[in-house]
């Protein structure tokens, strides 16, 4: 730990830290552009000059490039340093168009700040400025190249950090520009990070262009609700409209960056058809009347038919507190059980994980630091986009990676691949002798053996998987493999992508309730007469939508609490509007068992953009706010149970009743969160039966999530809905040829998930024997709920689309 003196104050920093970082530790910000914590230093901008007055180096130096050493004496305020910084910022500003008034970065612009900090106020240069034509980069990112100061952060993020391959640096000298070869949508799933890392207004968020200044917006630390990783975010709202999301530093989770689903998917909160008023039997009501009427009906049903007459269903979208409040409603109704996921296979997979995980859970930071990764049945781009980026950082540092998955490889890093379902391989890995499964080809056997040996030899191995493909049996095998690869003092960790942001928390609260199929059976048998759905949409998420539709039709009362206009809400007798995550305080437990709090950014209400119809806010005097009725799910449920509570009380109750959630008591939004103290359940591990295979001659259909369009929240956000890929049926070329199908030709797909006519897409990376579709809301594949694993399907030529 070198100790040095900066501006007459002493500081000790970890070996290898730069002088700039050492100053940072003292709270001294040396002006800089190209240095970024996640990207490191390249010395491109020349702004961070300091004077080194004693130590191994002497004189004017770039603070980001000089390693802090013992005994160094540094001045950030010496005239030589401030003079150099003033000169550099003046150079960097030579070509700047001085268009801050029309620049979206204005007010949160590092260039503005550094120009002022550098003491450059008056332009002396009178020559011509170099100008660039801008490129059209798709719906997310706006480019205004003239504002660039050549710090290279964009290309270092896009290409080096995120592995994108359609963005680069063009030109030389004065003419350096950053962009694509041809105009067009940025292809990387992480393109939006350009907006965060660019310290100037070159790259800004196109979805909110010219909408607000930073000081016009409300903002609070939040957690991304679009997958189970729980990345740290700052959502920003103005006039009751959730405008945009930017990345927040999450040392254990996302680091700094976000995926484009998390960044551009927030528009669901502004959806025009979102439920905003309690509705009962087609009538809009105030809260007291609606709750009173529903409480009476639920109570009557329970009195008449027992507590089993009411079914309670939640999903991984609901906050931890809301899921708890649903359980409390069940208790108030005499013991109605909670079903925590509309998809029974997903449900069992998550519960299997939560029961057995113990201390093996690994978050994104663990993955970044790992030296050996196995991705078994995980497609990060669809299920947990940032997990791919975390794995890429490990691989960049030299970690080995292997993939066992039949789906085409689209990972941003090289990996040894076995194009098969991972189950048999995991089973082998979990056995003490680890012998390769039968039926592998020679090269696959070798690859398997090599991966196993690498995992055994590694210091920080992590197994990654996806609950959707693995299912409960696969998850148990993955857990067993992790245990088999662990030895005292060195665990093999596990990082599993789950369906929703609080899937983990939901399963923690109901480890052994019934699943959705048992619930449906209860409805079909007439035992369950009413159903309360908390932010759950069984019609879109259960693998048999026809069965769900029939069952819902039998109910005497269907109550849906949601902030999305879902298919199930459209069929409900009662709809109770809830708040979106950005509109409430709450907590999620992420995929690795980390409890994280999020704070309310703004209060729900109809955006002024809507009430004012785009013009001046209406001059209508009323005591309330239009559209303000949505309430947090937990508050609605507590009121429905007749026992209204405050969030603090609910959390305290939860922390008392569930010791693993004791961390809730001191949870602060924006903090690092609390890793739950999990013990593997002492119960005997059930032997999960193998799932019915797919018969000879049939293709195995995988319905999976896509980056855009599959996840229920972001699929309803306008910018994301606009880029969801076309519905298609992917086949490997050999299977397509056997079926007489060519690229783009229509094929009729029949399966237990439903029927659809889709154009064929040839996917050379897809293993033979598989058919792949991506569920997309609002299209023919809406009912193809992901999470079912491989199921039998039939594919024929033709049919009109």
């Amino acid at each position: 730990m070198p100790t040095l003196t900066i501006d007459e104050r002493e500081v000790s920093v970890p070996a290898g830290a730069s002088v700039l970082e050492a100053a940072e530790a003292l709270g001294i910000t040396v002006p800089h552009f190209c240095y970024h914590k996640a990207l490191g230093a390249v010395g491109a901008c020349r702004l961070c000059a300091v004077e080194i007055q004693a130590g191994p180096q002497h004189g004017l130096r770039m603070a980001c490039l000089v390693e802090a050493r013992d005994g160094m004496v540094v001045s950030t305020t010496a005239p030589a340093a401030t003079g150099m910084r003033r000169a550099v910022i003046e150079y960097l500003m030579l070509n700047h168009p001085h268009d801050c008034p029309v620049c979206d970065e204005g007010g949160e612009c590092q260039l503005q700040d550094m120009t002022v900090a550098g003491g450059h106020g008056v332009r002396r240069y009178r020559g011509k400025k170099r100008t660039f034509p801008n490129q059209e980069l798709g719906p997310f990112v706006e480019q205004e190249m003239n504002r660039c100061i050549q710090c290279y952060r964009c290309v270092r993020t896009y290409r080096d950090y995120a592995g994108g391959h359609d963005f680069g640096v063009l030109g030389v000298r004065q003419r350096v520009a950053y962009g694509r070869f041809r105009p067009g949508r940025l292809e990387s799933p992480y393109s939006g990070n350009l907006v965060d890392v660019c310290p100037t207004g070159v790259f800004t968020d196109k979805t909110v262009r010219f909408r607000a200044r930073v000081w016009d917006m409300q903002c609070a630390p939040s957690v991304c609700p679009h997958c189970s990783l729980g990345c740290a975010t700052w959502p920003w709202a103005r006039y009751r409209e959730l405008l945009r999301v930017s990345g927040r530093e999450g040392p254990r989770t996302n680091g700094f960056f976000l995926c484009d689903r998390g960044r551009f998917g927030s528009g669901h909160a502004n959806h025009p058809d979102r439920p905003r008023t309690p509705r009962l039997d087609g009538r809009e009501l105030g809260w007291p009347e609606a709750l009173e009427a529903l409480r009476e009906r639920l109570t009557k049903l329970t009195w008449a038919h027992g507590p089993g007459a009411v079914g309670l269903l939640t999903s991984g979208r609901a906050s931890l507190e809301s899921a708890r409040a649903l359980g409390l409603l069940g208790q108030a109704l005499g013991g109605a059980p909670v079903v925590c996921e509309p998809h029974p296979r997903r449900d069992r997979a998550v519960r299997a994980l939560v029961a057995e995980l113990g201390q093996l859970g690994r978050d994104q930071e663990d993955v970044r630091q790992s030296d050996c990764l196995l991705l078994a049945g995980l497609d990060p781009e669809g299920e947990a986009p940032m997990l791919a980026l975390a794995a890429r950082q490990a691989v960049r540092r030299g970690a080995r990676a292997a993939v066992w998955d039949p789906r085409p490889d689209r990972l941003p890093f090289p990996a040894r691949r076995i194009a098969r379902l991972p189950e048999a391989l995991l089973e082998a890995l979990a056995r003490p002798d680890g012998r390769a499964p039968d039926g592998l080809e020679a090269a696959e056997r070798e690859s398997y053996a090599e991966t196993r040996a690498a995992l055994q030899a590694a210091e920080r191995p992590v197994l990654l998987g996806g609950a959707d493909l693995l299912g409960p049996r696969g998850v148990r095998l993955l857990l067993a493999a992790a245990r088999a690869l662990s030895r005292p003092g060195r665990a093999c960790g596990l990082s599993l992508a789950l369906p929703g942001p609080d899937s983990f928390g939901g399963a923690l609260l109901c480890p052994d309730g019934p699943d959705a199929d048992e619930l449906l059976a209860g409805i079909e048998a007439g035992r369950v007469r009413a159903l309360v759905c908390l932010e759950a949409d069984p019609l879109s998420e259960h693998p048999d939508p026809a069965r769900v539709a029939a069952a819902l039709g039998r109910l005497e009362l269907l109550v849906v609490l949601d902030h999305l206009p879902t298919a199930s809400a459209a069929r409900a007798h009662a709809v109770l509007p809830t708040t979106a995550a950005a509109e409430m305080d709450g907590a999620f437990v992420n995929h690795a068992g980390r409890l994280q709090g999020f704070a309310r950014v703004y209060s729900a209400g109809l955006p002024i953009r809507v009430t004012g119809q785009g013009a001046h806010p209406p001059r209508e005097f009323r005591p309330d706010t239009p559209g303000e009725l949505p309430q947090p799910g937990w508050a609605v449920l507590a009121a429905l149970a007749g026992e209204p509570v405050e969030l603090g009380e609910l959390r305290a109750e939860l922390a008392r009743s569930e010791p693993r959630l004791a961390g809730l008591a001191g949870l602060v939004a924006g903090g690092p969160g609390v890793q739950l103290a999990l013990e593997p359940s002492a119960r005997e591990r059930p032997d999960t039966p193998a799932e019915p295979g797919v018969a000879e001659g049939e293709l195995a259909l995988l319905s999976v999530e896509a980056l855009f369009g599959s996840e229920p929240l972001s699929a309803r956000a306008a910018p994301v809905a606009g880029v969801a890929s076309e519905d298609a049926l992917a086949l490997c070329p050999a299977d397509a040829a056997r079926l007489g199908l060519g690229e783009g030709e229509p094929a009729r797909l029949r399966s237990a998930l439903g029927e659809a006519v889709l154009p064929v897409r040839l996917a050379p990376g897809l293993a033979p024997g598989f058919a792949l579709v991506q569920r997309r809301f609002g299209g023919p594949l809406e009912g193809f709920a992901p999470g079912g694993g491989p199921i039998a399907c039939r594919i024929e030529k033709g049919g009109a689309r």
């Binding site: 359609d166 680069g168 640096v169 063009l170 030109g171 000298r173 070869f181």
Partner: protein, 166 residues
Amino acid sequence: MDAKLEQDIRAEFEPQIRACAHPQELVVHLLRAIQREHGWVPDEGVELAARLLGLQPIQVEEVATFYDKIYRRPVGRRVIHVCDSICCWSRGEQEIRAHLEARLGIRLGETTPDGVFTLLPTCCLGACGRAPAMQVGFRLYGELTPDRVDRILDEERRAAGQGDPP
């Protein structure tokens, strides 16, 4: 770019590419070959080079736009690079450039209507000892005076007319 050119380039480079551990090294060679045959490098040329080398077009474009002697826009048959670096500047570059512009009737970045000359500035030809200097095609000329520039232009125009290589 026509299919024939693509075939020729492919035939010329495929053996080299196969023999090369890092085909990326050949970017400049490929671009220059395309330029030799086509006069300049169109977008399709960048894409061709990327295909042959197993790179993304942007990776080739980065190199193509870095070097000022790879032309990404149509140019005349003789490209004049007149040096505006410090040594030439201190030895009369401005006068030489003004003379060139007047003689050719074009400004920097333009091509003469007969398609013979394109006039571009360049930053250092490595001929500081013979400043002021310029390069026409592949030929370097130093110690320029307006008279000498006139003679060079006449000679180059004549050679271009005969179809001599630059």
